[in-house]
């Protein structure tokens, strides 16, 4: 069709956790600039199936930028060249006819490759299980005015809660550090009244779990925040440092 693009793809293929992977080259002849990046991969997979080859495994779910499933390292950047979007919201018009696009999985000790571009992000779930929740009795919702929350705190908590846990921060960080993710999850609760009861123990346990998973430390390069599809701020990492250091030096947990 008029205006469609020809692309060369260099995609990481790996059959499972145990085997070594490598790059495979693919050609796509008629890519519409209006396709999303994942739709382009759907076209590639159709082509591979027709050729009797194994399609490329990649994570995806909502395809509207809110689930945090998609995870591709495109031309050296998590979620590709645009700021503040996930791969599913990246469209082929961000590329040019004749481009070669290199697609790799997230690279981190704590995120082993399961297959092709799919990585195991259970480490994030274990960090959440360690303390990223509030223990409250169920029952009727309270009266809206019984728990006053300052507007600024609500806004900051909301910005932190926008984190979809995709792992782009880990992928972008030169140390594969999970601090932006963990700090967002600590912050969203530390800022609200419901989070106060377990505030100290939450920071202590989540950071301990983060370290146990084998994520690196923070060098404050800011790469995580720059690549985050939800543009989570580095202020959260500073808040987590305060929460953790404060908790360690003042909590009664010895």
């Amino acid at each position: 069709m008029e205006g469609n693009m020809s692309l060369s793809l260099k995609v990481w293929r790996q059959s499972n956790k145990e085997t070594a992977g490598g790059f495979e080259n693919y050609k796509l002849d008629s890519v519409s600039p209006d396709m999303s990046f994942l739709e382009m991969f759907d076209v590639l997979n159709e082509q591979l199936i027709e050729e009797g080859k194994e399609p490329v495994a990649f994570d995806h779910d909502c395809r509207e930028g809110i689930c945090g499933s998609c995870s591709m390292y495109i031309n050296g950047r998590p979620h590709g060249p645009l700021r503040g979007v996930t791969v599913c919201q990246l469209h082929m018009r961000s590329f040019n006819d004749g481009d070669t696009i290199v697609v790799e999985p997230w690279r981190a000790q704590a995120f082993p490759v399961i297959k092709d571009l799919v990585v195991d992000r259970d480490a994030f779930d274990r960090v959440i299980s360690a303390g990223g929740f509030v223990s409250v009795n169920t029952g009727n919702a309270q009266d809206a005015n019984s728990l006053p929350v300052p507007k600024e705190a609500a806004d900051d908590a909301f910005s932190a809660a926008a984190c979809i846990g995709c792992g782009a921060c880990v992928a972008a960080c030169k140390n594969a550090s999970a601090m932006l993710f963990v700090s967002a999850k600590i912050s969203q609760l530390a800022l609200l009244p419901q989070g106060q009861a377990e505030r100290s123990i939450r920071a202590e346990k989540m950071v301990a779990q983060m370290d146990a998973e084998g994520f690196g430390a923070c060098t404050n390069t800011g790469a995580c925040s720059a690549e985050c599809p939800k543009e989570i701020s580095m202020e959260n990492i500073a808040r987590m440092n305060r929460e953790y250091i404060g908790a360690k030096f003042s909590s009664s947990a010895v």
């Binding site: 990481w12 790059f23 390292y73 031309n75 050296g76 950047r77 060249p81 290199v102 790799e104 690279r107 981190a108 000790q109 704590a110 972008a172 030169k174 140390n175 594969a176 550090s177 601090m179 950071v207 301990a208 983060m210 370290d211 084998g214 994520f215 690196g216 430390a217 923070c218 060098t219 404050n220 390069t221 800011g222 790469a223 720059a226 690549e227 580095m234 202020e235 990492i237 500073a238 808040r239 987590m240 440092n241 305060r242 953790y244 250091i245 360690k248 030096f249 947990a253 010895v254």
Partner: protein, 223 residues
């Protein structure tokens, strides 16, 4: 493990140690640069030697010197441990990595810049601090540091190594100064501007002042 060692060996605790020792070393740089800048009085080293003598013999300063050496050692050892841990966190790297799109090269190169500074530190202490303190222990007399500077800085290669050390220090401080406050959790809309301004100004002024010392002596501006 006690809660205290647990804290200091955690990822955030290691950064806390880097920040605290880093800021302590920054405070040392202020004193070091101020006293050395006395050579610019160009009075044959009289003022410089007066203050050098104070720093070399005052019991409080000499005690703090032990803390300073400890500060250097902790900053270096902790930095190396962090570097090792951070490398282990990503055993397989990316084939294509466009890092300049999201961060500055010097913020990603603190380990490399720190290593260059460590090499410089070895050369620098071998020139002045080690011979001077050895002589003090052996004879109780201080060496004529001003004359030593004049002699050592006649060699163009030495001058170039010192200027190289100052350039490494500039880049290391340009990230390190601000980064220390972030690690301490000091990221606040009221203070970010001043931290950034002072950090940048400090990173320029201190290394420039240091670099001017060997240059001025080599070119004979200071005699």
């Amino acid at each position: 493990m006690s809660w205290f060692s647990q804290t200091l060996t955690s990822s955030i605790g290691k950064k806390l140690l880097m920040a605290l020792t880093g800021l302590f070393l920054i405070s040392f740089l202020v004193i070091h640069a101020t006293i050395n800048a006395m050579i610019f009085y160009n009075d044959g080293g009289e003022t410089f030697t007066h203050w050098g003598h104070f720093m070399g013999t005052n019991p409080i300063i000499r005690t703090l010197e032990i803390v300073l050496v400890a500060g250097f050692l902790i900053h270096i050892a902790d930095g190396l441990i962090l570097w090792k841990n951070n490398r282990e966190a990503r055993p397989i790297g990316y084939a294509v990595n466009n890092r300049s799109a999201n961060s500055t090269w010097y913020s990603r190169s603190m380990g490399l810049l720190g290593t260059l500074l460590l090499i410089f530190l070895v050369i620098h202490t071998a020139h002045f601090w080690i011979p001077n303190r050895s002589n003090q222990f052996a004879t109780g007399e201080e060496l004529n540091l001003y004359q030593m500077m004049l002699d050592i800085f006649q060699n163009i290669w030495v001058v170039l190594i010192y200027v190289g050390g100052c350039i490494s220090l500039f880049w290391h401080l340009l990230h390190g100064f601000k980064s220390a406050f972030q690690s301490l959790g000091w990221n606040h809309v009221k203070y970010n501007g001043i931290i950034s301004f002072v950090g940048t100004a400090f990173s320029i002024v201190i290394p420039l002042l240091f670099a001017l010392m060997p240059i001025s002596m080599y070119l004979g501006w200071v005699k």
